[in-house]
């Protein structure tokens, strides 16, 4: 019986030793994890942050050296990897599919508990790398966003900031891009008592369209000066000749209306390359002024054999009104998915007898009310020219 009791006591003592050892190991792990948690770095530089973590972690696993790699590229090495007798490594990943490997060499073989600690160290280092890369990406996005905003503002500056004043004419012009910049535009020039103007819409939206828009304004302004005395058809042909190849390379086109108004006689000459809607109100009648050719950049006008671009020629008198809008106005949708449409614009043009400014402002307000919170889907531009008593 005594032998049996001695054997049982021996087993119990060994169990107690084993449990004690396990408790000590567990406590050591807790202390190590606590120490590891203190290694959280304040640096946002990836290599710095990982180096700080490894320096803090190396004593916890008695490492002679530690090497940390991300996606196969060494980010940080502490100590000489050839010194330790026993080498081990652990792989960890993040949800963003970064794969990291932590290689450790030490004098003693790695125990199970220390292997888990090694995984915790690798995860901590990888998390620091992840945070660093997110920060770097956010900074890059901010720089791109700032550059985009600056470029957009510069492109919109191409629109004229002055309004022509001629006796017997009253002008309202406004362009609201759907984003920070857009492809809708107007440009004008006054020469010898005549108003030369171009109103148009570059296909597409945003900064790409705005960059092309600024080139079109430059081309139109040059054409006003060089061939403006030959009428709107010549201006359109000159713009087409200067921009066709560029627009082809850019995979874009420009719908464009060019007008020439003689303020002394009231005569309007107009030519449209694919631009719509263009409305003419006279004696309470509203009519569409149709395009004579496709938008600029589709087919070279010189290759179409048109020879002479047919112009609309109208004798304007007080009370008459020309309205040139962009499709972003008429294609604006309501919450029910219905477009404002040309009919909605015609209705306003036909019935609103107030000044060009009041009517123009009212049309924008009407579209906003119609949209009722629906996102502005395209650039909106409106050009209203009234013939008034001189």
């Amino acid at each position: 019986m005594t032998d049996v009791r001695n054997a049982e006591a021996l087993v119990a003592a060994r169990t107690i030793d084993s449990l004690t050892s396990a408790l000590v190991d567990a406590n050591d792990q807790l202390v190590a994890l606590y120490e590891l948690s203190k290694s959280t770095t304040g640096s946002l530089d990836e290599a710095d942050a990982i180096e700080q973590i490894l320096e803090h972690a190396a004593p916890l696993v008695d490492a002679s050296s530690m090497t940390f790699e991300i996606d196969g590229v060494t980010v940080c090495t502490l100590g000489d990897p050839d010194v330790g007798k026993n080498a081990t490594s652990v792989d960890v990943t993040t949800p963003l599919e970064m794969v990291a490997t932590l290689r450790v060499s030490r004098d003693e073989p790695m125990g199970t508990a220390q292997s888990k600690l090694l995984t915790a160290i690798a995860n901590t280092a990888l998390q620091a790398a992840h945070t660093s890369r997110l920060h770097e990406s956010a900074v890059e996005n901010l720089i791109v966003e700032r550059d985009h905003d600056t470029a957009s503002a510069l492109a919109q500056l191409a629109l004229p900031s002055w309004r022509p004043e001629l006796p017997g004419l009253s002008l309202f012009a406004r362009s609201d891009p759907a984003r920070s910049a857009g492809g809708d535009f107007f440009a004008w020039s006054v020469r010898d008592g005549r108003l030369l103007a171009a109103v148009g819409d570059v296909s597409g939206k945003g900064l790409p369209a705005a960059l092309v828009m600024s080139s079109v304004i430059s081309s139109a302004t040059a054409a006003f000066q060089t061939v403006g005395d030959r009428g709107p058809g010549a201006v359109l042909a000159a713009i087409d000749a200067s921009l066709h190849a560029y627009l082809t390379d850019a995979s874009m086109f420009v719908t464009l209306a060019v007008i020439d108004v003689d303020a002394s006689t009231g005569t309007l000459r107009l030519v449209s390359a694919g631009h719509s809607p263009i409305l003419w109100r006279s004696d309470d009648r509203v009519e569409h002024l149709t395009a004579v050719c496709p938008p600029v950049g589709v087919l070279e006008l010189s290759s179409m054999g048109l020879g002479y671009l047919a112009e609309h020629v109208l004798d304007g008198k007080p009370g008459d009104r020309l309205v040139i809008a962009s499709d972003g106005l008429t294609e604006q949708e309501s919450p029910a998915g219905v477009q404002f449409g040309d009919d909605g614009l015609i209705d306003v043009v036909a019935n609103d007898k107030r000044s060009a400014f009041d009517t123009g402002t009212s049309i924008f307000d009407t579209i906003d009310h119609f949209a009722d919170g629906v996102e502005q889907m395209d650039d909106r531009t409106l050009f209203v020219l009234d013939w008034t008593a001189p």
């Binding site: 597409g204 995979s251 086109f253 719509s276 938008p295 950049g297 499709d327 395209d378």
Partner: protein, 106 residues
């Protein structure tokens, strides 16, 4: 928008033409899909492409620009991009913009 591809019968004087059938809205959100479809056909030797438009509900200027781009590329390669059976909304836009003078419309 949906795009479906049909291969049409080969003719004596050229490779088989292909037809892309487009349905729904055809606007700025869809042009990458359309451009990839057209370029894939062109890169595989098809320079005669029919774009079937009878089921298109809406087309914007970005989409029209893509049609023009495809037309130019086809013509550079000796072929053409033909617009087939445009729906009323598409036909109206083509007429207002005079693009009907630039495309072959079947």
């Amino acid at each position: 928008m949906n795009i479906e591809t049909l291969t049409l019968d080969a003719t004596d004087d050229g490779p088989a033409a292909v037809e892309l059938q487009i349905e729904g809205r055809f606007d700025a959100h869809e042009i990458e899909l359309f451009r990839t479809a057209v370029d894939t056909k062109l890169d595989s030797g098809h320079n005669h492409i029919r774009i079937e438009l009878s089921a298109v509900e809406f087309v914007d200027s970005s989409a029209l620009a893509e049609l023009v781009r495809g037309m130019k590329r086809c013509r550079e390669d000796g072929g053409d991009l033909v617009l087939a059976s445009p729906s009323d909304p598409v036909r109206v836009i083509l007429e207002l913009t005079k693009l009907d003078a630039a495309f072959v419309i079947d």
